[in-house]
């Protein structure tokens, strides 16, 4: 093969490879990308229907509840403005604690309970997932105002 053809072959292969990869990547992206939704957005109904997504916030103090001896447990995740009940069956990560940041992966059921199939808590307690930090930061200021105004405008769960 002559150098010129050779180069064309190389360029051609790269272009084809990249094109195929891009196409399939975007396709796969649609199927398996996970959207991160804040608790307030969930209460406003802004979440992907009929598919899994992630929701994050703090585990509300005093909200963790479990039947003795059962693997099933429930807690509230809060972004300091709205709360969302989460139900999970299984083993929790080591750093899951009340008052700590948490990310849950799963779907919302008909009665508005988030059925999680995966719970993530970060390995360093000083560290918080940026999405969680952002969604909290948006509402820290409002919290004091909300206290004065009375109940916030979260839709009833």
């Amino acid at each position: 093969m002559r150098p010129r053809q050779q180069r064309m072959l190389a360029v051609g292969l790269v272009v084809v490879g990249v094109a195929i990869a891009t196409g399939l990547t975007l396709q796969a992206m649609k199927d398996s990308m996970m959207f991160f939704v804040s608790v307030t957005e969930v209460s406003e109904g802004k979440y992907p229907d009929n598919r899994n997504f992630r929701v994050g916030g703090l585990v509300k103090d005093g909200s963790v509840h479990r039947e003795e001896g059962s693997l099933e447990m429930t807690f509230l995740v809060t972004d300091l403005r709205c709360d969302l009940p989460v139900s999970y069956t299984g083993v929790l990560p080591d750093l899951f604690r009340e008052g700590q940041g948490v990310v849950a992966h799963g779907q919302l059921d008909e009665v508005g309970v988030f059925i999680a199939d995966e719970i993530l808590a970060k390995h360093d307690e000083n560290y918080m997932a940026p999405e969680v930090a952002d969604s909290l930061a948006e509402h820290v200021g409002e919290q004091t105002a909300a206290l004065a105004e009375g109940p916030s405008e979260c839709s009833p769960q």
Partner: protein, 653 residues
């Protein structure tokens, strides 16, 4: 006093790094032998001061000097001595110091084992390494000084993160860093070649063992990290596609491509500018990895306390390095290429395909890692790209690559005579397909398309890589004595096959169950019964733990007793899961305690992981293959050098 000596030593090292970065470069430009000869001396001097600084920090740890902020944050009186030594790189500041130490270590090794190369070339390589060192020393001194003092020292330290108190974790970062830093040699080589405006065969040959050594360490470092995550994070996964894992995986993929393209560049004088580009990319991706970890812009389990100043510094440094390298590349690289041709049916074509596919794989990982950031910047929503996406997309370039490996190994340079798939490849091809279809069903009781594809790929790579060593061993007709280079290649590819086998089987037939158990209870998982005999309190040096005593039986016969623990570390108060793992060559039984569900009942996660050992064993075999290749005679004047170099680099760690 000692910490101040360390701080001062770092400043002196910076001064020497500046000398090392400037004088040899100017000397090489003016052809001034005296100035060029400063290169090696400055590097040795710099190494001495960095060692002093490193020793001072280690000393502060051993002396429990909590007036040093870094020590106060990463150590504690009761921390075992071994972990005090390892804690030096257990946080951000210390790991930067380790990085610098390794970089200067590699530089001195380069200086020592490069006598066969022209002085001006060596001067430029060392000069570039000096400039990199300047960047990292400035980074340490300006944003991450490990010797900063506290005005009010605490009585006791905050302890090392319990996750890091583990032998596997103690050696994982140095391994990884030796690999990262090792690519700086290939980078410096590429820059020096472009400045010199020529690229001799001998120079390329000289670079090969260095690149391979860096790759070996990176392979081992990544494998260790994976192994550690498996038993220490407590949940039995071995790869999470976490951004920081990806950050180490991208240089590995490009480094693998680089090793292959260097072969073509040396043997045939082709792909030269492409090779330079890969050398630049491998190191740039190593830097990018550092940036991702330190800046905290991306969600990751690798939590370093974030500091915007650090992120900005690394990003600027990255910008300067990449931009200047690319400008130089655009200006100089085109003149380096040769016009030799090759046939479509030749080893060159296969290595070209290897490179294209590996680069595509890198782009996939790169995109998946940075997409969340991209979405956020473009304000089109918050997403996270998880394992399901990577598992799917990553296979696209990798599957064809794996099948091509088997053929490519048996092609000849320039033009291959004869057809590719007949002859000696026929038997492995048929055998892999037959066994690949049968094995999943016969051994694991379930047939499946994807699992068969995986097993076929694995057996195909393993069987085709055995052919050459086997022919040589049996003195087959026409077979020459195998060279270490070819043997190394065969062994490394066999490692790839073993790895794929492990990944395929464990992904397809892994069983995971969460149970609620109380003492005396028995559960059955994949043909094994697990009896929780007892729960007891255990006292460690800096933790207390609840320990389960679990008996494992198979068909009534006792196999093993394992002791999973739930630890609470006394200083940081956090909980840690220590899994109980029963290891066999072909399966792991993995038991982890979850949490107390009240009334002496605990949640327990039990997993059956067939063939998972093959994942790390495969990586080990890949690294072994690299090591064998490095010993090839034709690197003798330089290769023994690289081995010693690695030893030099590894020693202080």
């Amino acid at each position: 006093m000692i910490p101040e000596i360390g701080h001062f030593a770092l400043i002196l090292a910076l001064a020497l790094a500046i000398l090392q970065g400037v004088l040899p470069m100017v000397g090489a430009h003016r052809n001034d032998a005296a100035m060029m000869s400063t290169a090696r001396t400055a590097a040795v001097g710099q190494l001495v001061f960095v060692i002093v600084a490193y020793a001072c920090l280690t000393w502060a740890f051993l002396q429990n000097d909590f007036s040093v902020a870094y020590v106060a944050n990463h150590s504690q009186l009761a921390l075992p001595t071994m972990y005090k030594v390892a804690a030096v790189w257990g946080g951000h500041e210390g790991s930067v110091l380790l990085w610098i130490l390794l970089l200067v270590g590699w530089t001195v090794a380069v200086g020592r084992y490069s006598r066969s190369l022209p002085d001006s070339f060596v001067a430029r390589v060392i000069g570039v390494l000096g400039l990199l060192s300047v960047g990292f020393l400035l980074f340490a001194l300006l944003t991450s000084n490990p010797f900063d003092r506290l005005a009010n020292p605490p009585a006791d330290g905050a302890d090392l993160n319990p996750l890091l108190q583990d032998p596997g974790m103690a050696i994982h970062p140095p391994m990884l860093y030796i690999g990262y830093v090792g690519f700086s040699v290939a980078f410096a080589f590429a820059i020096a070649a472009m400045i010199s405006g020529k690229l001799d065969k001998e120079w390329i040959r000289w670079t090969r063992p260095w690149t391979t050594m860096a790759w070996i360490f990176l392979t081992l470092g990544i494998a260790l990290g994976s192994w550690w995550a498996y038993y220490e994070l407590g949940w039995g996964g071995w790869w999470f596609w976490d951004p920081v894992e990806n950050a180490s995986f991208m240089p590995w993929l490009i480094g693998t491509a680089l090793i292959h393209s260097l072969a073509v560049a040396e043997k045939r004088g082709l792909f030269k500018s492409w090779t330079l580009m890969l050398a630049i990319s491998a190191f740039s991706l190593s830097l990018l990895g550092t940036f991702l970890v330190r800046s905290g812009i991306i969600v990751s389990v690798h939590a370093f306390a974030t500091d915007p100043a650090r992120g900005v510094f690394i990003l600027s440094f990255l910008g300067v390095v990449i931009l200047s390298a690319l400008i130089l590349f655009a200006w100089r690289a085109p003149s380096l290429d040769s016009d030799a041709g090759f046939s479509a049916n030749s080893r060159e074509t296969f290595l070209l395909l290897n490179n294209v596919l590996l680069v595509v794989a890198t782009i996939v990982v790169f995109y998946g890692t940075l997409a969340p950031l991209l979405y956020e910047v473009l304000d089109i929503g918050k997403i996270s790209v998880g394992a399901p996406w990577f598992n799917k997309v990553f296979l696209l370039p990798m599957l064809p690559l794996v099948f091509l490996v088997g053929i490519g190994m048996h092609t000849t340079w320039r033009s291959h005579k004869g057809s590719l798939l007949t002859g000696r490849l026929l038997i492995p091809a048929v055998a892999s397909v037959v066994l690949g279809v049968l094995i999943p069903g016969v051994l694991y009781g379930r047939f499946g398309v994807m699992v068969s594809v995986g097993v076929i790929a694995a057996l195909w790579v393993i069987s085709t890589s055995i052919i050459e060593p086997l022919r040589s061993w049996r003195r087959a007709e026409g077979a020459a004595r195998i060279t270490p280079a070819v043997l190394g290649m065969s062994v490394a590819h066999m490692g790839v096959g073993l790895f794929i086998l492990g990944v395929t089987i464990v992904s397809a037939f892994n069983v995971e169950t969460d149970m609620s158990m109380r003492p005396g209870e028995t559960v059955e998982v994949s043909g094994h019964t697990f009896e929780l005999r007892d729960l007891r309190q255990v006292q460690g040096p800096n933790f207390t733990a609840v320990e389960g005593v679990i008996d494992i039986r198979k068909e009534g016969e006792f196999i093993a007793e394992v002791h999973p623990q739930k630890r609470q570390y006394l200083v940081q108060k956090n909980w840690m899961t220590e899994a109980g793992i029963e290891v066999h060559w072909n399966k792991d039984l993995f038991i982890a305690l979850g949490e107390q569900l009240g009334n002496n009942t605990w949640s327990v996660r039990i997993q059956y992981k067939p063939m998972i050992r093959f994942i790390w064993f495969g990586a080990l075999v890949m690294a072994l293959g690299g090591l064998i290749a490095v010993t090839d005679r034709r690197y003798r004047s330089t290769a023994t050098a690289a081995e010693k170099a690695a030893v030099v680099a590894a020693e202080p760690a």
